[in-house]
Symmetry: C2
Subunit: 132 residues, 2 copies
Amino acid sequence: MPIIPARLLDLLSDEKKAFASLALTLADGLPQVTPIWFSWDGTHVILNTARGRVKDRVMKRGGKVALLIVDPADPYRYLQLRGRVIEESEDGAYDTICDLQLKYRGNRDYPRRPGEVRVTYKILPETIFPRQ
Amino acid sequence: MPIIPARLLDLLSDEKKAFASLALTLADGLPQVTPIWFSWDGTHVILNTARGRVKDRVMKRGGKVALLIVDPADPYRYLQLRGRVIEESEDGAYDTICDLQLKYRGNRDYPRRPGEVRVTYKILPETIFPRQ
């Protein structure tokens, strides 16, 4: 399994609060890129969205994603990850978005919206740039 | 043609120095996302790369790109553009990368590398988010 270069590991930390740019290939082959909150469990990138959104539909369909994570303090420090969805789950997914709200907003009060079902995706990086 | 919301036009300005996240679909259908310098001529996003790089090969092949441009001062202010390559040219392309070097680095001294041929791409946005 590829390794995240030690000098860039801080980009994945909760303290850094970096956003990810998530790139997907839509059903018609067109690229899409959206900003997204993420967390890192030491092996996987954890994403969370709501059922039915474009991100949810595409990640289920293909499972291949690319992520760009840039240091908010220095645009020349970044990680590019390519990988695949190895797990998707609704179990505990509202808790996961609250964890992300804590990372990025400093509180766990993520709004509950009527009818919204959260889903968590676990991404396994398969290609990492830079390599060291 | 879609319009850039006036309240977000500053993200495209030279003064803002925002980077773009450029998403492409590779030949095998996989998504890729890379950081890139850009400029805005009022209608098109201008990109510049070197012949033979992945970006160059893919932009020639398909011509469809997605861009995410985030305010370096506020990650919740961003533009998502999807569009297509309407022009690619080697004419003046070294001058264009020097213009970009001026925008981002404050000088025009972009290094000339032996054998490197620069190419400029003009992207016409076809879908813009947010809409207003």
